[in-house]
């Protein structure tokens, strides 16, 4: 749409042009702080919005289960931040609360967000509390008008909070339709990727540090974060650092959906996961500015120390285990990080601590049983076996024993190279990166200028 820039400028509530430094570099920290809210201000906004201060739970049974099959002296203590206790059932309430606050402050009559996930519920819930009109645009169905039960539940909960839900079939043109709706209504674009939303997640990192210091007397050794678009990793990591937990390892985790095409009508209902998967996790980490804002505030490669993948079958197994051993019926997508944490705990000493930083609500449709029954109905095999045999879209292999759960490290060096290649390919042809660009790329990939320069040189030759 030719008027895209004009529509987005009116809908975003801020001018992104002020942060641009060239075709590659931009002032990320300037963008993140331009809303003018301190972390304390955001805590205040969220307290008034009924968001945050969720329970931090130690999972003693899961911890001992890991110890039962670990080498002596191994088996880190596992904790979870029960984000399902937020009003709309996930950490996304933190993200929505700041955007909705900004929309109110700036006098918008309503908000629009494009999301088939928990974010829609959060935006709808916060809009209801603030008397704002709300439209949620969802990719909901395949061409047969069939949708994953988890997404149908998200349509229901958004409507329960009074939102207008616009359901679409599969396709990236959803974003053009969202632009048309923004143009028609003049509403605020409550993008998942704005600095408002990502700043709202920083309080989660802050709470984790404060609570872990109170319970264990130290910062957590690792925080494991279910990773999709990158906001969860970015916001949590920034909060941890703001709270002084600079030595805590930041671990992102996604469900491996390799082999499935995210824009395919046929693959759409064979994913068995709606989020927290590599289909979002890899493209958004390696090119964050693919988002619906000029510059994405969610830049996960800046922060992740490791990126782990787990299989569909492993996550469904751990979702069942969490309910049966800890009395926590949550997820399933939100248990991706829990599954990775179970694998990591086995290699860490018993006095080490791991925090899984979210859970999400569960219910009819949005439940591992519903997703597995749906997978079977759509021709995906579900069986017991070695999770390494799991094949997305074809076979979901449920582990026979917890010992079989083994997260796999994604090659971060490869992701960093991919990011640099994407950044160069989006600059004008023949553009030579400046020293400032090199520093920006190094920071944005949690790398160093020499590595970035070597990558660029290799790309030129290749």
């Amino acid at each position: 749409m030719a008027r895209k820039g004009e529509i987005m400028m009116r809908a975003l509530g801020m001018d992104y042009a002020q942060f641009e430094q060239g075709p590659i570099a931009f002032d990320y920290e300037g963008m993140m702080s331009s809303h003018g809210y301190s972390l304390d201000d955001i805590v205040g906004i969220q307290t008034r919005g009924g968001v945050g201060n969720t329970p931090l739970l130690e999972l003693r049974n899961l911890t001992d289960l890991v110890r039962s099959y670990s080498e002596p002296g191994k088996g880190a203590r596992i904790f979870v931040k029960d984000e399902a206790a937020n009003m709309a059932g996930s950490f996304k309430d933190r993200r929505a609360s700041v955007s909705i606050h900004v929309a109110c402050e700036q006098g918008y009559a309503g908000v629009i967000a494009a999301t088939s996930g928990n974010y829609g519920a959060a935006v709808a819930s916060q809009s209801a509390r603030n008397n704002l009109a709300c439209i949620i645009v969802q990719e909901a169905f395949d061409s047969r008008h069939i949708g994953q039960p988890e997404i149908i539940e998200k349509s229901r909960i958004c409507e329960a909070f009074g939102a207008e839900v616009v359901q679409l079939t599969v396709g990236p043109e959803l974003f053009s339709h969202m632009l048309e709706l923004l143009d028609e209504t003049g509403y605020f674009a409550a993008s998942l990727y704005s600095s408002f939303g990502v700043s709202g997640i920083e309080t989660l990192g802050l709470e984790i540090v404060n609570e872990m210091r109170a319970v264990t007397g130290k910062d957590p050794d690792a925080v494991v974060i279910t990773h999709a678009g990158g906001g969860n990793t970015t916001g949590t990591a920034r909060g941890l650092k703001l709270a002084g937990a600079t030595a805590t390892q930041i671990v992102s985790a996604s469900v491996d959906l390799s082999g499935l095409h995210m824009a395919s009508d046929t693959d759409f209902n064979r994913k068995s996961f709606t989020t927290g998967h590599t289909g979002f996790g890899v493209p958004f980490a390696t090119w964050p500015d693919r988002a619906d804002v000029p510059r994405n505030a969610a830049r996960s490669l800046r922060y992740m120390d490791r990126y782990l993948t787990v299989t569909q079958g492993e996550v469904f197994y751990i979702t069942e285990a969490l309910a049966k051993l800890e009395g926590l019926e949550r997820g399933p997508s939100g248990n991706t990080a829990m599954t990775a944490a179970m694998s990591m705990a086995r290699t860490m000493p018993t006095d080490a601590t791991i925090v899984v930083q979210e859970t999400e609500y569960t219910g009819a449709g949005k439940h591992h049983w519903a997703q597995l029954n749906f997978a079977r109905e759509n021709g995906v095999e579900v069986r017991l076996g070695d999770p390494k045999e799991n094949k997305p879209g074809q076979a979901i292999v449920i582990p026979e024993h917890p010992e079989q759960i083994e997260a796999v490290d994604f090659d971060l060096a490869r992701m960093r190279k991919s990011y640099v290649r994407n950044a160069l390919s989006h600059a004008p042809e023949g553009y030579a990166p400046t020293p400032d660009d090199i520093v920006f790329l190094a920071t944005d990939t949690n790398s160093d200028p020499a590595t970035v320069e070597a990558t660029i040189a290799a790309l030129r030759e290749g």
């Binding site: 130690e58 049974n61 911890t63 001992d64 289960l65 110890r67 039962s68 203590r77 309503g110 009109a133 709300c134 439209i135 169905f141 061409s143 008008h145 039960p149 149908i152 539940e153 349509s155 229901r156 409507e159 009074g162 939102a163 207008e164 839900v165 616009v166 359901q167 679409l168 079939t169 599969v170 396709g171 990236p172 043109e173 339709h177 209504t185 319970v215 007397g217 095409h261 824009a263 009508d265 046929t266 469904f316 197994y317 069942e320 285990a321 309910a323 049966k324 051993l325 009819a364 449709g365 591992h368 049983w369 519903a370 597995l372 029954n373 749906f374 579900v382 017991l384 449920i398 917890p402």
Partner: protein, 114 residues
């Protein structure tokens, strides 16, 4: 008995629309997606009586007027948990047994800490 094939004025209904015909869709789509129209469904209050499959205009929850084909009257939600998954029904008992065995052989393990 209510006429399920026809809605009345003010009734809560769903309308269906074709947003893009296959020929107008974005490039670079996989073939299975490119060959299908981009469809949309929106719910609202019917502005006039309409037949199922006939043209219908609605006022949505945000007050927009949307015109499409009447696709459902008072649409409900029928998603469920479904049946238990046979591959998962033993997980709870298996893991509790493992835990009990581990704790029996490691006195003091699992006691509240911190």
């Amino acid at each position: 008995m209510a006429d399920t094939a026809r809605c009345s004025v003010g009734e809560w209904v769903e309308v269906e629309r074709v947003l893009l015909e296959p020929a107008d869709r974005s490039g670079a789509l996989p073939e299975d997606t490119a060959s299908q129209p981009l469809m949309t469904w929106v719910k609202g209050f019917a502005l006039a009586p309409a037949e199922m499959g006939g043209e219908c205009s609605v006022t949505t929850m945000t007050g927009r007027t949307v015109t499409g084909t009447l696709s459902a009257i008072n649409p409900g939600y029928f998603h469920t948990f479904g049946q238990p998954i046979p591959e998962l029904v033993h997980v709870g008992a298996d893991l509790r047994a493992k835990l009990a065995q581990y704790r029996a052989s490691n006195t003091g393990a699992g006691e509240p800490r911190g």
